[in-house]
Amino acid sequence: MAQKNKEEALAVRLVAGGATVLAVSVLSDSGMEHYRGSFRDPAMVLPLLSSAASIGFNARRAGAHPERAPDSEGTEISHLISTSIGIIGFGFHAYNVLKRPGGMRLVNLFYGAPVGAPVALTLAGALGKTADALSRNNGMIGPIDLKDGRVIAGVTSIGLVGTVAEAALLHFRGAYHDPFMWLPIIVPPIAAVSLARDAIDNVPRPVTTALLGTTAALGLIGVGFHAYGVARNMGGWKNWRQNLLAGPPVPTPPAFTGLAIAGLGALLLMRTAKKKRSHA
């Protein structure tokens, strides 16, 4: 492993940590939702396996001793598989929506397989691969140089926008009946835009750090709100076996947290690269 300064090492841990949180969200969400769908298609088990593997590899890289993380072909393959399964899942989910009468009708987007959800797995794979590259391959994926953090910032920003779109659609399905449902539609987009602007300008701004921090916190607070949403279904938490599936998905809001943490890693890389430039 190349010698890195402390900040760079922390940045890699943040990117890997973001990927871990995303994978945890995917594992628990797809676990619940695909269970609700009775695993009718055997392929529905794949995101569970790959997100579980992703958690294993990324968590070690994010942990206190990232130097002990395995640098094997297995890691590479796991990230590649996660990325691919996310993309394939996107296709499956889109097909599930489009085969319904009315096709791209809102009611099908509301109640069909959530089109955006599998992309979270792709992002977990991509971020995991990125963290790997940063710590092993001199920060390169093919011709793409990740070291200055800008590409990661861009990917994270796009990921946030996609997650916001998903939340906006499903909160619209719930008619924004609780005003707090607007929070994930308002804050993360600002964070995403700020992060994208930083990436384009190559200027890591403190406001972006604050926005990403808020977004990360919102993802966790969202778990609480969704748990309350479950309680508002018939029978509340006493009827958890039905209401966990019928109510708002408890595991999904941390997807924001995962992306925001990865974004913070990207910002840290940008700051380090900037310092290096000014020293040079």
Binding site: P101, F110, F172, A175, H177, M234
Partner: protein
């Protein structure tokens, strides 16, 4: 004393049931019989319950009477069709005519909240032109109210009931977005959608009065499917759960198990109050105004039963039209069998709708409009359809019932023409209260029959376009009751004016489905509630001007 709500009144001693809390109560303002209340309302359904809320909120003193019990849906509604017949008005009535109406299930209710306690929650607006069928489409009579005004009140009711409907409604003028998003389609609704698409017509998710998100104390609908036998979760926005809690909060009194038998008239020709029986005792409630909202059978019955020396033909009946122009709606169906599991009884029964033939005037050999919806009959209802509508019995019926999961159907709600020969009159027989029962005389007009024939043909085509086989038509069913105290602009040809105020007696009002001059091709509950909201606004305005 027994706690059976069918035996002993519950709304008394200053409290009424809290329908949202098992065993709970809410405080209720009570009035003495001798208090001359501003409004005594007969009936607590879509018309009376809504008015009780609106008038109480406007500061009037209100007592609303209902012959039925005050149910607690969370505790007392079973997932059992037979048990839930307790929600229906099954008192004795005589039906005759060429097409006698089947009374006592889908077309009436005897409970606080009226038939909205077991309605299918379908909340459609009448097409604008259907408020002026004579001048716009050349048949029947015009309403005395402009469609734009009605549509304004529709929006108000849709907000109050948190209607879950499509994001964009495909027919008619622009309407505001429904407060909640549509419910998911069940397989039966998908068959309607596929059929409509195959035939090149539009379809949409049915706007329903059951919440798709948690609202107040109502949990989101759990798609249990027993909607028409009474919702046990309070997702349904019935008058019992939506308007009456507000009414009680605003100071209205509800008297359950209180059958009103007669409205009293004073020497000046104004009504002075009403006689009602509660706890086996006849009592007299004094009132400055009486509003009759007993639906199209009990409303004319009460008006006719209240005949006195001054009004020997019954109250508000100088036109002779009380009880006349009864209109049902056509409720015929087409059914078929498909390969996949439909389980149409899952979820609300009518999740998809087509109003194509409400908004299309060409290609018809009849006047009027109709809509059709996907269906989800519960087992006993289905058995009755197969036995009565299809003539199956014995082993054939059992075999067919076993295939129920693969049955799929479409059912119409069609506009019947007003006809004075279709009427409610008093019979000589008396009921358990000692009141003369009604004779309900009905015959479909030729126009109705032509509509029916076209509709079942079209619905059958739609089913067949989705691959359904063994299609058959259920020809003998009706729903809803309207039109026996018609509103209009002319005292000679109507019973009440546009404000639901009787022409003959200024402090006697009628506000329910009986005032409909025409019924349109949609379920009437939303229209009744819109009318009630409008009437309340008109009463407020008239009271402010001292015109009551």
């Amino acid at each position: 004393m027994s706690s059976d709500p069918q035996e002993n009144p519950r709304a008394r001693d200053g409290r009424a049931p809290d329908v949202f809390t098992p065993g709970g109560w809410v405080p209720m303002r009570e009035h003495d019989d001798a208090d001359e209340v501003d409004f005594a309302i007969v009936g607590t359904g879509a018309g009376g319950g809504t008015l009780a809320c609106k008038l109480a909120e406007a500061g009037f003193s209100v007592v609303a009477f209902d012959a039925g019990p005050y149910w607690r849906p969370l505790e007392e509604f079973a997932s059992d069709e037979t048990h839930q017949e307790k929600l229906f008005w099954t008192d004795q009535r005589i039906v005759d005519g060429n097409n006698p109406i089947k009374m006592g299930s889908n077309n009436s209710g005897k409970a606080v909240g009226g038939s909205t306690v077991h309605f299918a929650m379908v909340s459609l607006r009448m097409r604008p032109e259907h408020f002026a069928t004579r001048s716009k489409l050349g048949y029947a009579v015009d309403w005395p109210i402009d469609w734009q005004e009605m549509w304004k009140y529709y929006a108000q009711v849709e907000q109050a009931l948190h209607i879950a409907g499509p994001v964009n409604y495909p027919w008619g003028p622009h309407r505001p977005r429904y407060p909640l998003r549509p419910h998911p389609l069940n397989a039966a609704a998908e068959y309607l959608a596929r059929g409509a698409e195959a035939l090149g017509t539009k379809w949409t998710e049915t706007p329903l009065a059951t919440v798709s998100a948690p609202i107040g104390k109502s949990h989101p609908c759990v798609y249990r499917g027993f909607c028409v036998t009474g919702c046990t979760t309070n997702a349904k926005q019935s008058v019992l759960t939506a308007w009456l809690p507000r009414a009680l909060k605003a100071g209205a009194e509800i008297r359950d198990l209180a059958m009103v038998g007669r409205i009293e008239t004073g020497k000046d020709g104004r009504v002075t109050g009403l006689h009602y029986i509660r706890n086996g005792q006849w009592r007299f409630q004094k009132a400055k105004n009486v509003i009759v909202a007993g639906y199209a059978i009990e409303t004319p019955r009460l008006l006719l039963n209240s005949a006195c020396d001054r009004f020997p033909d019954g109250l508000a009946n100088s036109s002779g039209l009380v009880g006349k122009n009864l209109m049902v709606q056509l409720n015929q169906a087409a059914w078929g069998q498909v390969k996949d599991d439909v389980r149409s009884y899952k979820g609300p029964p009518s999740l998809a709708v087509s109003e194509h033939w409400n908004y299309t005037d060409t290609g018809k050999d009849y006047d009027g409009g109709w809509s059709y919806m996907s269906q989800g009959p519960l087992p006993i209802t289905w058995a009755k359809s197969l036995a009565g509508g299809r003539g199956l019995w014995g082993q054939a019926l059992i075999d067919e019932m076993a295939r129920n999961n693969h049955s799929v159907g479409l059912k119409m709600v069609g506009e019947c023409m007003p006809d004075e020969n279709n009427r409610v009159t008093l019979a000589d027989e008396k009921d358990q209260y000692g009141l003369p029962i009604t004779r309900i005389t009905y015959a479909l007009t030729d126009n109705d029959k032509r509509m029916r024939d076209h509709a079942v043909r079209f619905m059958r085509d739609s089913l067949q376009a989705t691959g359904a086989t063994e299609c058959w038509e259920e020809m003998d069913d009706t729903c809803h009751l309207n039109g026996t105290a018609r509103m209009g602009d002319d005292p000679a040809t109507s019973v009440v004016n546009a404000d639901c105020r009787s022409w003959d007696i200024p402090n006697l009002w009628v506000c329910d489905g009986s005032v409909f001059p025409t019924v349109g091709g949609v379920n009437p509950s939303l229209t009744i509630q819109a009318l009630a909201c409008r009437t309340a606004d008109r009463i407020k305005a008239m009271a402010a001007r001292g015109e009551l």
